[in-house]
Symmetry: C2
Amino acid sequence: MKINYQPIGIVHSPFTKLAGMPIQPSRAKDISGSIEVFPEFTEGLDDLSGFSHIILLYHFHRSTGYRLKIIPFLDNQLRGLFATRAPNRPNPIGLSVVRLASIQDNRLSVMNLDILDKTPVIDIKPYIPEFDKGTEVRIGWLEEVRKREAVSDNRFT
Amino acid sequence: MKINYQPIGIVHSPFTKLAGMPIQPSRAKDISGSIEVFPEFTEGLDDLSGFSHIILLYHFHRSTGYRLKIIPFLDNQLRGLFATRAPNRPNPIGLSVVRLASIQDNRLSVMNLDILDKTPVIDIKPYIPEFDKGTEVRIGWLEEVRKREAVSDNRFT
């Protein structure tokens, strides 16, 4: 079975290189940028401005191949790939929950942006705590290391 | 630009028909099922069992086309598609945060499952509140209607 997707838009961000990027939106609180949705999809953005947060799904276009055990950012031990958020995955889809500042026509201004410039966006969904927020959460290996410094290096380039 | 993905696994759930399904994991608390990850990816599941919740990304394989304005479940007004979680999207990717009960070899037992049986899974990520949980959240049109009854009908079949 083949699954074929096409970009619906593109990310404009200050990050043009992988090294030195914040790893996740929570580490990128002051970073703003925008999502340019291609004009033919603009009508689908109606009503979105009422939401404070959106879920961006995007294609890690710089991803090249993957290994099933990797040393993730934030750690120094090999971990199963699906227990990490590493970009090199069998299907290199990225997910970020970002704050939506405003929408003008087909352009979304967002904050907490942790995505590389020119990344193709494949879906935008409203973030809805009732659906998306786990309760009584455990976070495995990250529990020990979550407080360490969080700036990416070039291990996935 | 074409993006090609391949399933890494398949959902086994009690839901064989779209109508009558719970709309989201939060409405499917008692529903359990499993994710069968294809054997060649099993090693990538290491360390995942330490996480209480996982993010499933999957392909809405029954989705056929889309419109940019739709009447979503939970509402009776036309809304912009990207302000909804409707399955018929330009790229029909589904996202569910589900509770991970256990892992045995290549099979994940999960709870709060709101996904159709035989749905192809394209990615599995650990759910990490620090990254994935919005704060000071507003939920637009859903604010008014979130307390209504939440069982899907057949409008997307």
